[in-house]
Amino acid sequence: MKEALTISNLFCGYGREVLIHDFSARVDLSEMIAVVGTNGSGKSTLLKTISGQLKSIQGEITVSGINIQELDQRKRARYISSVQSKVENVPNLDVLSVVTLGRYATTDSVYFFKSEDEEVAKNCLHQMQISHLMHKSVDKISDGEFQKVMIARALAQSAKWMILDEPTAYLDYKAKNSVMKILSEQMQSQGLSVIFSSHDLDMVSKYASRIWFVDNQKIVERSASFIDELRR
C-alpha cells in the first residue's frame, strides 16, 4: 500500500467552536501543499490538528493507515514533524542541542543521545546551511536563523510529513527562497511531504503543487494557478 496521510471528514476547532468543517484529503509522499487563507480563518488550527497537537472535533487523520490519535507522542513524531510560527522566550540552549532534540522520537537511546544522533543533527544543520551556528545559543541568533534551526530540528526527526505554520514569516527575501528550496530538495531526495501555511503568495505559487484554500470554515482544494486568480 502506498504511504499516505489521509484526512477524512475532519472538523476542527477549540471546544465547541468549529473552525474547519468537513475536510477530507490525501497527502502522498513528495508533495508540497500550501494552506492559504485570511487571518483567523483556521489555518493554524488545521495544521495543529493534522500534527496531532490538537484533538479533532470529529473525523480521522491517518498515517500509513494508522489513526494518529491512537499513537503515543513518540510514535506519532516518527511520522509527522511540525514547526511552529513563533517560539516565545527562547532559552539559552546551543543550536546543536536543539537540533539533536529532534532525534528524541527516532533514537534508540531516548535518555541520553548517542554520537550518531548528534551526527544526524550536524548533517541537518549542514543541509539548512547553518553549520556555523552550531555552538551558538539559540537566544543569541536572529529570528530567521532560529526558524532555520527549528526546521533543521524537524528534519532531524526523519518524519515523512512535515507541517510548517508560516515557515517564512520571519525570514528576509533571500532566506525565504533558500528555506523553501531546501524543503523542495528534501521533497525530491527523501520523499518528504510538506504542508505549510503562508500569506506569501509568491512563495506559494513558486513551490506548492497543491493549495488548500480556507474560506468561510470550508477548505477547497485548488491548483497552483489559483494564486493568479487570488491576486486579481
Binding site: 517560539v87 522566550n89 539559552n92 540552549l93 531516548v110
Partner: protein
Amino acid sequence: MMGTISIPFSNLVQILLDPDLAQNGWNYIIWEIRFPRALTAFSCGISLSIAGLVLQTLFRNPLAGPSVLGISSGATLGVSLWLLAGGLGLSAIVSTAIAALIGSWMVLLLLIWIAGRLRDNVSLLIFGIMLSFLVGAFVNVLEFKSTDTALRAFINWGMGSFSHTGWTETMLLLLAGIIILIVLAFMVNPLNALLLGDDVAHSIGVSVKKNRIIIILLTGILVGLTTAYCGPIAFIGLAVPHIGRMILRTSDHRYLLPVVCAAGGTVSLICDFVAQHLVDGGLPINTVTSAIGAPIVMFLIFKGGKNKT
C-alpha cells in the same frame, strides 16, 4: 561542622575516623548534632534547588518555585493541622512527614487536575499563586484558633531550621534527594524540550502531560519532606537555579542539574553557617535565606536585563 563549642580540627578528623577513641561529649556533638545538621542542610539545599529548577523549566517562568506554586503552603497546611492538633501523640518523624506529604499532595492533586484542563503554564502558575494565598489564609485561621503551646511549636517550625532533625530524617531527606535526582537525570531530554515550549516538546515526541505530572509528583515529595522536617525554607528553590545558569551560561539540563544540585547544597550550608554565627543565639534559617536569596535574584534580573529559564 562548626558551632558554639569549639572542637579542634585534628580532633574532628579523629572523631570522624574513629569515634570510639574520641572524647564522648565531642563525639556526641559531632555525630548526633553537627553532622546530621550539616547533612540535612545539604540535602534540603539539593531538594529545594532541583525542585525549583524543574518547576522553572515546566512553567517556563524564572519566578516559579516550590513556594510560589502553593506546594510549600500545602505542606505547611498539613503540618500546621498536625502541630496545632497537638501532634495526636504520634511519632513526630513519621507523622510530620505524612502530614506535610498529605498537604502537598492535596495541592498537587488539585494542580494536576487543573493542569489537565489548562493548556498554558502561565495560567497554571497564576492558579498556584492564588492557591498559595488561599492555603495561607486557612493556616492563619488555624493559628488564630490554636492553643499557646501549639502556636509556639508551629511558629518555631515555621521559621525553618536544620537543627531539629535526627539521623532518620536526615537519611530520608538524602535518600529522597538522590533517588529523585537519578530519575531527573534520565529526564534531561524532555526537560530541555520543555524549555522550548509545550508545542515544540509535543512535536518532537515528548508527552507534555506525562512529564508535567512526573515533575509535579517528584517536586511534591522533595518539598513535602523538606518542609516537614525543616519548615518552609524560602528562596533556595527560587534563587539557586539562577546561580547555576549564571555559572554555566546555559539552560541545558545535562549540565545544569548537577551544578544546581551542588550549588543548592553549598548555598544551604552557607546559609545555615551564617544563621548560626551571625548573632548570639543564632537566627532562623529563613531570615538568612531571604536576606541572601532575594538580593541574588534582584542582582540577576538587573545584570541579565531579561529573565531566562
